[in-house]
Amino acid sequence: MDAVVLSRLQFAFTMGYHILWPTFTIGVASYVACLSGLWWWTRRPVYRDLMRFWARIFGMGFAMGVITGLVLSYEIGTNWSGFSKAVSNVLGPLFMYEALTAFFLEAGFIGVVLFGEKRVGPGAHFFACCMVAFGTLLSATWVTAANSWMQTPAGAIQDANGIFHAVSWPDIVFNPSFPYRVSHMVCASFLTGAFVVAGVSALHLLWRRHLETARKGFSMAMWTVLLLAPLQIVLGDMQGLNTREHQPTKLAAMEGLWDSGHGVAATLFAWPDMAKESNRFELSIPHLGSLYLTHSWNGEVQGLKAVAREDRPNVPIVFFAFRIMVGIGLILLSVAITGAVLRFRGRLYSARWFHFVAVGAMPLGFVAVLAGWTVTEAGRQPFIVYGILRTAQAAAPVSTDAISMSLGLFVIVYNLLLLAFLWFGARQVWRGPPAERGEPQTLTQARPGGRGIALPGAHAADPLLSRTSLTATQEGSWMPR
């Protein structure tokens, strides 16, 4: 293992873990803002309860995103100093703008979103939620602009020492692949977030608890995915066309296509063999490849053999990751359509089998996002700035032992974090939306005590804090049925 491979492993690992949280929080931040607005507008308690419930889960995910992102902003220097040296004039400002416009905005208003609802009015709370949601979108925009520039560099020139210099900022930010990438990623986040909301609501429906909020949440989420699942496939197709134009080798690896040609087949399954430059066990449909890649029957598509062996990415990784992403996209689309059919028949809240399906679909969006980023990043190899700067030249002069040690620590700490998040998240989900004190619950409320163990028919909230005790008047105001 040399330093480059270890650094790539470490970056892939820390990046893969990091991207889970933004994917979740970009979608949920907008959902919370939407709920806060609806609560302000309609004054219906169901929106308030949903908003508080999702704000709390959002807060946990947000903290995860912040600290794992902090690690990345320094890893670019610690592990990729060659890259930093070459591109700092171009990408430095984009990262700086991300911190300046997005991170501060999120950090400045997250306190009000999480703890300030009772202290500021509903209007001010809605404003804070919008600012946080806007911050997540801004952050996605800047960082995707930076990544897109690495895929499709524009607006900069490279001097004899290999240092890039900015020529035109609009061209750098709005580089050829940027609009497609940012919309595809934001849509993926909204879709993933909506499937998480759908899954959690479905769990509540299955448990027959918190029914009012569960139905509302489920309904909202199913409308959202019905809109976004087809849109995401369209956006993905558009990005595919863009990739064919600007990164033909990556596209060839995604398709497992070795020979350039007209009217190429679409490979459904194969085992790409890089040594033999061919696919084993290939199963393909003639002409379909050209049809969806060029939108014409005999369109030309470039194959992998068009470039030298040392300029090709690892084909199997890109090939399979792409199929995982597309497969999940199609599964989510079918879930969305099924939901619409059930709604049309008035069985959306009663079809229990479908609620199981919705719970099962909860993690799929995250898997698709990871697979998609694997396609785009592994497909860019062996270049770090596509076609110009090789990854091997970008690494830092750091010893392999040091990287191994940090990588080992990250693996341990991040996995613990994920487990802790899932554990506490699951407990929040089990507990469900918080009850407003003094309001009788319309539906069954079983709220667990200190250890997250449900006591059916238990009395109102014991907010877990050992020192908290309900006074007699509060006890009296809550009438168990």
Binding site: R52, R56, M60, A63, V66, I67, T68, G69, L70, V71, S73, Y74, G77, T78, S81, G82, S84, K85, S88, N89, G92, P93, F95, M96, E98, L100, T101, F103, F104, A107, G108, F109, G111, L114, F115, G116, E117, K118, A166, V167, A396, P397, V398, S399, D401, M405, S406, L409, F410, L417, A420, F424, R431, G450, P463, L464, L465, R467, T468, S469
Partner: protein, 355 residues
């Protein structure tokens, strides 16, 4: 005033803001396990909960700003300090998550207490290792770092680490004296003395050590006429230390915090004087390490327009949660977090005055 000077000033400002802002909330973490009761710990955490995230964002801001404006500092120093940087990052990760999870559990509260306090202790120590190694200088060849993973870890770094931990603890104590009352405040006043003595000692040790081992630093301070011109810096620092000592049991709750920030600013000023005009000591000056003019323009426009707005709403966040932090026995509608109530109260004259 040329661009290098302006951006050096902006970068220095970002670093100072980070050190002061995250300094006190790391300091609260350093003092965390020493606090006498769980209630004190809950109050301490509640006092920084609404602002820590904004404070830590300055670390990202500082890093990305260096990347954009003084790239050489970024791509030379970060690999040079690989181990302490990673130590700091992992410590900050553990600590940040403790904010989220500590209040959600009763049985494992102690585990998160340790994660929070441990992270808050390791991160400043790692920053001190970086600072000490930075003063000592990094080996370079062909414009990149050319040492091993341990070549920048020095005894000076260890002293700086202890000094930073103590300094942050002092800032944290000052913050707690300002934001809490009763037993928590008494604890902060008491622990402030120890922190102050340690800071003062380490400031002397690090300054003397730098002057003795780095001839360039010594000639900067002791050559005539610098000696006369720069003499006020250590003298004022000594006065501030005395003033902090007196303020710890003084009637004005906010004074210790203010003076501690001044002490940090003086220390940072001294550091800048020692190392001027290098961004990588004795290797790269601020004029050699500056980015392209078109990059600086793009960055500068953003800073001029956005930075004041950022400072304004960060200040507003402190204003919203102004006054003494209290945990009152009610839930804030979100179930399980102690609400952070704040009211403006007159400073309490402590009856436990024992000076």
């Amino acid at each position: 005033m040329d661009a290098s000077l302006m951006f050096a000033a902006v970068s220095a400002l970002a670093i100072v803001i980070y050190v002061l802002a995250d300094g006190f909330d790391l300091g609260v973490g350093i003092l965390f396990l020493a606090a006498p009761r769980d209630l004190d710990r809950d109050t301490m955490m509640a006092s920084i909960e609404p602002v820590w995230d904004g404070n830590e964002t300055w670390l990202v801001m500082g890093g990305t700003l260096l990347f954009a404006v003084f790239p050489a500092a970024y791509y030379v120093l970060l690999p040079a300090f690989y181990l302490p940087v990673m130590m700091m990052l992992i410590a900050l990760v553990l600590r940040g998550i403790a904010f989220s999870f500590r209040l959600q559990t009763v049985r494992y509260r102690r585990v998160w207490d340790f994660a929070f306090a441990g992270g808050s202790l390791v991160a400043p120590f790692a920053q001190g290792l970086i600072l000490g190694g930075f003063i000592g200088g990094v080996p370079m060849q062909d414009g990149v770092f050319s040492g091993g993973p341990f070549s920048t870890l020095t005894l000076l770094g260890v002293f700086s680490g202890i000094g930073l931990v103590a300094g942050y603890a002092l800032l944290g104590a000052g913050w707690l004296i300002w934001k809490t009352e009763g037993a928590t405040q008494v604890f902060a006043r008491e622990v402030g003395h120890a922190a102050l003595l340690l800071v003062a000692l380490m400031m002397v040790v690090v300054s003397a050590w730098s002057a003795l081992t780095e001839p360039a630093v010594a000639s900067r301070w002791f050559a005539w006429p610098n000696l006369a011109l720069l003499a006020p810096v250590p003298l004022v620092t000594a006065l501030v230390i005395v003033a902090i000592w007196r303020s710890l049991w003084g009637p004005r709750d906010v004074l210790t915090f203010q003076l501690s920030m001044i002490l940090f600013a003086l220390g940072f000023g001294g550091l800048c004087i020692s190392l001027w005009p290098y961004i990588v000591p004795r290797q790269i000056t601020i004029w050699d390490g500056i980015a392209d003019p078109q990059t600086l323009w793009f960055v500068g426009v953003g800073i001029v327009i956005v930075m004041p707005i950022v400072l304004a709403y960060q200040a507003r966040a402190y204003w919203v949660f102004r006054g003494k932090t209290r945990i009152h026995e009610d839930d804030s509608g979100y179930g399980e977090r102690p609400a952070i109530q704040s009211r403006r109260t007159s400073a309490q004259n402590n009856s436990l005055h024992i000076s």
